[in-house]
Symmetry: C2
Subunit: 427 residues, 2 copies
């Protein structure tokens, strides 16, 4: 019975008990494995999970000293992130059975902080669009979102408390919204990407999943190797800007009402809430994002395109072909527009502590053939600012709907503090 | 006899002859192999060179269509850059015999443009300080510089016309200066880094080696997949700013006189030359560079530090230990200083087309235990601007001394055009 509940423990609470040796890493790991055994046939969150390997790691952690702030906490790792002891196929048949020589930086840091790497979670093809097998744990006929499909679904389904993903377009915030968990895309560059299969190096960002803001902050501290950022500051009611922007008409009613309800709730709790006047140039960012992504994909996947073209999805191939025809000048213009909008955004932030906007157009769409639309995520990824999905709302079919908070560039601890404040005010 | 000279052909000239089938890829490759066979025992530029593999590639290129602008041109690849068909040990015993699953993006793009990948060139330990075996081809008792030691030495020694390296501190410009070749560090991000072992992802930049500006521009066009940048525009005499900066006292007499001689020569040819007033904050960049590099190394090499600590050099380990103790706030402050100086530099550039400065303190120091000082390179790497070493001068022992031109961020074709203009005015 105890074991059956341990997998539901918040990561922070588990971390305290593990560090005090009140519970064992093995007991926690077994509870997670039980949940996985029961639920995986429907959810299909994993590409690799080996109970013996998990238990061996847990026993080693139990036998040794407390390693760090993640000691004994089970964490899932998206299949585009290298692990030295588990296959890593980058969501592509080209790399079936591939065994990396080393752990990615974020995995190595998580392990150095004591994390127990449970296994590899399903990614779409190279963390882009072509979906994997994962279903939404709330309703298996609906997509979990992507590309970090397995990480979001596994955390949502209480298979484990923490997971690592990535975001190049909307691959962390959107699946977090669809699955009803906290998804955090830190500022560009703050979580080291060594050992993560690149999609587009100007955009790729490590994403983190947990079931609370406090837990995602703990994971952030672990993977950055900066334990001081695990502490979430208490902040006064923040100044909140509601950001609609050019794509707002694509928000479905459940998303519009989630954002407006969230705004009303934080306003009642004392936040100063106002609408942001979005500068016109931001409407061009979506196109710039595509140009940059495709240009970089065309270079980054040169080997795969030359040697394994037939194993790439048609959509993936067509993006590479698009990118191959982009000139260096056009690519640089897109990068320059992003630089310019970053400056404008930094200036706008003098009036706000956080921005409140949509995480996704609506609840998870039906069907597993498409992981949904990243329209409310791409620009923030390109702008490099930290973003977090806060769950708490629901759509017409009862599936989760989240809202997104956006913070200042490289002020991630402050965004987390504001998000923690807001999280307690949401349903 | 013909074969014996082909290895000395400028890349552009060879490319024209190869594309017209006036010379064969195989003949050119054999000429390079002959040179390597004769000189490698002294120079030690290579970690992997397999004549059969080279000839097989050459025959395949000769048998097929002209693939692109690098068709048949032999290129060396630094050992920190992945190749799918050659061992890649990242300059470290940890990875002895390692075989990557794929080509790095720059290798894949070079191959797609027709380049013949000759082999892997010596790198220092993970492209940092601990030296490899390579000697300076001008005098084997002197360092070739590093970390791209083998690439610089092989091109200088006419073993082949083109080579790929990297620069995180001064790993392209410095060895180019010490070996007497053109070394080009493009703007940060313009040459895709997928498949290059990361040292510090905010700093790592692909570097290119050739024996002329025109040839390095051709290679740049090949690895970016942007053939249009192979064309070097004719420019009027540029406005040249002489940049001394806080570290100028570390320039040895041969470097001071090379920079001053270069300034006098371009001034005589019509360039408007003036001294730049270097803002005081730039003096802090060297410290910021170290903080950023060590912070990122500590994360990026988490796996190696945990599992193979004894195979890391003492200096490498101590950098990781330094980086582990840096807080996220300190790291972000260093990044913010760099952002601020980038803005200042962009404003300064309104008065200049290029900056003229030192490439290295002086000619290559004696001894192979140390690859020299990157004091005149680190800041430019951090500032992300394109830099090029132009050879042409000499030190007291007759070893090469180069000067460095620095261009505006992401205006690499313009820097190359100004460099081509200046290159013709130097001795």
């Amino acid at each position: 019975m105890i074991s059956g509940k341990l997998n539901e423990l918040p990561a922070r609470e588990a971390a305290v008990k593990l560090a005090r040796r009140e519970i064992g890493c093995e007991a926690l790991a077994r509870a997670c494995l039980e949940r996985i055994a029961a639920r995986e046939p429907g959810v299909k969150a994993w590409t690799h999970i080996d109970p013996d390997q998990v238990i061996a790691q847990a026993k080693a952690l139990d036998a040794g000293p407390v390693r760090g702030i993640l000691h004994g906490l089970p964490a899932g790792v998206k299949d585009v992130i290298d692990t030295c002891d588990m296959p890593t196929a980058y969501g592509s048949p080209i790399y079936e059975g591939h065994r990396p020589a080393a752990d990615a930086a974020c995995v190595g840091m998580a392990r150095a902080a004591g994390a127990l790497i449970m296994g590899k979670t399903v990614s779409t093809e190279f963390a882009t669009s072509h979906p994997g097998k994962t279903a939404n744990p709330h309703n298996p006929r609906h997509t979990p979102g992507g590309s970090s499909s397995g990480s979001a679904a596994a955390v949502a389904d209480r298979m484990l408390p923490l997971a690592l993903g990535t975001q190049t377009g909307g691959s962390t915030i959107r699946p977090a919204s669809f699955c009803g968990v906290v998804g955090f895309k830190p500022s560009f560059g703050l979580v080291n990407r060594a050992g993560v299969k690149p999609v587009a190096e100007s955009l790729d960002t490590i994403g983190l999943f947990a079931r609370s803001v406090a837990d995602v902050a703990l994971l952030f501290a672990g993977v950055t190797g900066c334990p001081e950022v695990a502490e979430i500051a208490e902040v006064p009611a923040p100044r909140v800007g509601i950001w609609r922007g050019a794509k707002w008409p694509e928000a479905l009613p459940e998303t519009v009402s989630a954002v407006e309800d969230a705004a009303a709730r934080v306003a009642r709790a004392g936040a100063r809430v106002s609408e942001v006047e979005v500068p016109g140039e931001f409407a061009e960012l979506a196109k710039a994002h595509h140009e940059i992504e495709y240009f970089e994909m065309a270079r980054g996947f040169a080997y795969e395109f030359e040697h394994h073209r037939e194993k790439l999805s048609e959509k993936f191939r067509s993006r590479i072909e698009h990118g191959r025809h982009c000139t260096l000048a056009t690519y640089c213009e897109s990068l320059a527009l992003a630089d310019q909008c970053r400056k404008r955004l930094a200036a706008l932030f003098s009036d706000y502590d956080v921005l409140l906007t949509a995480s996704a157009p609506g609840e998870a769409p039906e069907g597993l053939a498409n992981t949904g639309n990243s329209v409310f995520n791409r620009n923030w990824t390109l702008l490099q600012v930290p973003c977090i999905n806060l769950p708490g709302f629901a759509g017409p079919r009862g599936l989760p709907v989240g809202v997104q908070l956006v913070g200042r560039f490289r002020e991630d601890p402050r965004l987390l503090a504001c998000a923690e404040w807001a999280f307690r005010k949401l349903p």
